[in-house]
């Protein structure tokens, strides 16, 4: 069983939902990333989504764009991101790591080289934002061969035929984008999310995560009542942005504790 599956089964057995925070690798500075990951894991995260910095993050709002820019100042590319995962794995062999990023850095490294290096570093799943399933059959196959999951987005505009197509390519879990917009936008409609998640459930046994618009503990709680996992990105990145070196880790663990409490309530 993969790490992602193990975590979801254990949560299910305890009637709990997964909390998946997102951070961009190298933000606010590469020296903090591994510590941040350990802090996330020890303060309530069940899995970690680790963003690969990219110069042109087309699907991200201003908060995560700025995180990419901060990381790129320190030239944090995909190789360095994988080094960080490897370092994290020396102390934590349980928390699943999902890389989230754009196709070009992966293609620049080369698909085969990437899948080998990611597996060796201890990556569990990959979400490539601008790879719809039609355009990445080889990549899905390569990930599968090396035992990593292909995480795909589903959106409020995905029709039934697309949901069918995507659930058949996906593994690990499905990531439902809770709004029409970029990461960090404000307009999550919980009733719509509920209906959409229910519709997706009729087509798959994979766990369903919801993200893109989870801005506070109250929303996290509502989403947890509907979905198997709550993904919190911009809110975490804002906390990183607003922290100083001294209170970075404590601020993040406090935010995680709040979210955890809300989700478990």
């Amino acid at each position: 069983m993969s790490r992602i599956q193990t975590v979801f089964s254990a949560l299910k057995a305890n009637n709990k939902k997964a909390l998946i925070p997102y951070i961009t690798a190298g933000d606010p500075h590469p020296k903090h990333t591994v510590n941040l990951m350990h802090t996330l894991a020890s303060s309530g995260a069940d899995m970690i989504e680790l963003g690969i910095p990219f110069s042109d993050p087309m699907a991200d709002g201003p908060v995560i764009q700025r995180a990419s820019e901060r990381a790129l100042v320190h030239k944090v590319g995909l190789r360095k991101v994988l080094d960080m995962v490897q370092e994290f794995r020396q102390k934590d062999t349980k928390t699943p790591i999902i890389l989230m990023g754009y196709a070009n850095p992966i293609e620049a490294m080369g698909m085969e080289k990437f899948t080998q290096a990611a597996k060796a570093a201890g990556v569990d799943g990959v979400l490539t934002v601008d790879y719809p399933p039609e355009e990445c059959k080889d990549f899905i196959a390569a990930l599968q061969v090396s035992g990593m999951d292909s995480i795909f987005l589903l959106s409020p505009t995905s029709d039934a035929a697309r949901v069918d197509l995507i659930v058949n390519q996906a593994s690990g879990f499905l990531y439902y984008v809770s709004l029409k917009g970029v990461t960090g936008a404000a307009n999550l409609d919980i009733e719509e999310v509920k209906a959409r998640v229910a519709a997706i459930r009729t087509k798959t046994d994979l766990p369903i995560g919801v993200g893109f618009g989870v801005k506070d503990a109250a929303t996290a709680r509502k989403v947890a009542a509907i979905a198997d996992a709550v993904v919190v990105g911009s809110r975490v990145v804002v906390a990183i942005e607003q922290s100083s070196e001294d209170n970075l880790l404590s601020n993040i663990s406090q935010l995680m504790a709040e979210l955890r409490t809300a989700i478990d309530a």
Binding site: P53, F54, S55, D56, P57, M58, A59, G61, P62, Q65, E69, L72, K75, G77, L78, R79, Y102, A103, N104, P105, I106, E107, A108, M109, V129, D130, Y131, P132, E134, E135, F152, L153, L154, S155, P156, T157, S158, D159, R162, I166, V177, K180, G181, V182, A185
Partner: protein
């Protein structure tokens, strides 16, 4: 018969093109693809498009024999396809009219656009005003500074211009921002992309709308000289004016197609915008796969060109394909060479060309010198240079 039949159903030109977008945009692109397929051969739609091109844009644009310039250069005869004479001053308007008419049929009351030099923004604002559509234009903050007259023109036409402060603050970042707007406002918004880039169906659709340039030119050359040119030359930013004039010539044998990229300070300096000529690696950006200027981590690198309209790190996927199959050739012209050609055309022909188009002119000069006097070069003069007078004045330390 058209032998060349590209792209495939999902917008692939060989390994290039395609649809590389987040899931949140997939349905919007599918809706657009279906609507474009419905209307691209619809006689009523095409008649309306043709009417606007004739009565609003002033087409057909003439082909002009640049006789004095030809004599001065001393070689092949140089003809100019005068897209500079279009309403709004460049080829961009051909495409914005096509897409705006489609937006209207799709019932979208709001159009958005990205712009570099501001020509596409002006052309979009123009047709939006005429059709009564709300218009928002994204423009890199750097370009807002260097293309101030066009920013003012857009505002006069009732558009909202939003300076984009992210990334390199140029065309590519404006495109990112427009995509973000689109994904947020999908239900009421049509995104009018200004070049043959972006995800399918944009590269094909923009090419089709711009191919009026080549269709006219073929007929005009026959009428004027009784034959087709030996070479067709056009500048390449994203590549829309070049695709527009190349496309109808792809199946015509013995017509060389030459795309001219911006060599900026020189290819060897790295400060350029010439992904094809500099053999940049293949990558994925803005929804398609193409040749891309990037670093070893796959991040897009900053480009340089004196002309904002050529300052783009990628190139339309069909050009990548035409390069690979060797149907078109690609070269690059430096800032200085383009400036020299700019002045030459001003002084010998009484035409102030756009700095973008000056790259094509500069290469035509070079080629003409190596060719016989009975040979013919057709240059796509993609736009007029009024928008560039501040840039040119600044180079001579003149304040206007």
């Amino acid at each position: 018969m058209q032998l060349y039949d590209m792209p495939d159903a999902r917008g692939h030109f060989g390994q290039f093109g395609g649809i590389f977008v987040a899931e949140t945009l997939v349905e919007a692109l599918e809706e657009l693809r279906v609507m474009y397929e419905k209307y691209r051969h619809d006689p009523e739609f095409l008649a309306e498009f043709a009417y606007d091109l004739k009565h609003f844009v002033g087409r057909p644009s003439p082909v002009y024999f640049a006789e004095r310039w030809t004599k001065r250069v001393g070689g092949a005869q140089i003809y100019l396809k005068r897209e500079d004479l279009n309403h709004t001053g460049a080829h961009k308007v051909n495409n914005t009219i096509g897409q705006a008419l489609l937006a209207k049929r799709m019932g979208k009351p709001r159009v958005i656009a990205e712009t570099g030099a501001g020509q596409h923004g002006v052309a979009t604002a123009t047709i939006a005003a005429r059709l009564g559509l709300e218009c928002v234009v994204y423009m890199g903050a750097e370009d807002v500074k260097r293309q101030a007259p066009n920013v003012f023109r857009m505002k006069l036409l009732g558009a909202t211009v939003i300076p984009v402060e992210s990334g390199s603050k140029t065309l590519k970042d404006a495109l990112n921002e427009a995509m973000r707007d689109w994904v947020t406002n999908i239900s009421n918004t049509f995104y009018i992309i200004g070049t043959v880039a972006g995800p399918h169906p944009y590269p094909m659709m923009v090419r089709d709308f711009q191919s009026v340039i080549g269709i006219e030119a073929k007929q005009q050359m026959l009428e004027m000289v009784g034959r087709q040119p030996d070479a067709v030359v056009a500048c390449v930013g994203g590549g829309s004016n070049a695709m527009g004039i190349f496309y109808p010539y792809i199946d015509v044998p013995n017509v060389r197609l030459i795309g001219v990229e911006a060599a900026g300070h020189g290819l060897e300096t790295g400060m350029h915008a010439a992904p094809l000529t500099a053999n940049s690696p293949v990558g994925v950006l803005h929804g398609n796969r193409t040749y891309l200027m990037q670093d070893s981590d796959g991040n897009i690198i900053e480009t340089h060109s004196i002309s904002a309209g050529l300052d783009y790190p990628g190139v339309g996927p069909e050009h990548a394909w035409l390069k690979d199959i060797k149907r078109a050739e690609y070269v690059a012209i430096t800032d200085d060479e383009a400036m020299a050609a700019f002045h030459n055309l001003c002084r010998t022909e009484g035409i102030i060309p756009a700095l973008e188009s000056s790259h094509a002119l500069a290469h035509a000069e070079k080629m003409a010198r190596t060719m016989r006097k009975d040979e013919i070069i057709l240059v796509n003069l993609s736009g007029r240079g009024d928008k560039d007078i501040n840039t040119v004045a600044k180079l001579s330390n003149i304040t206007l």
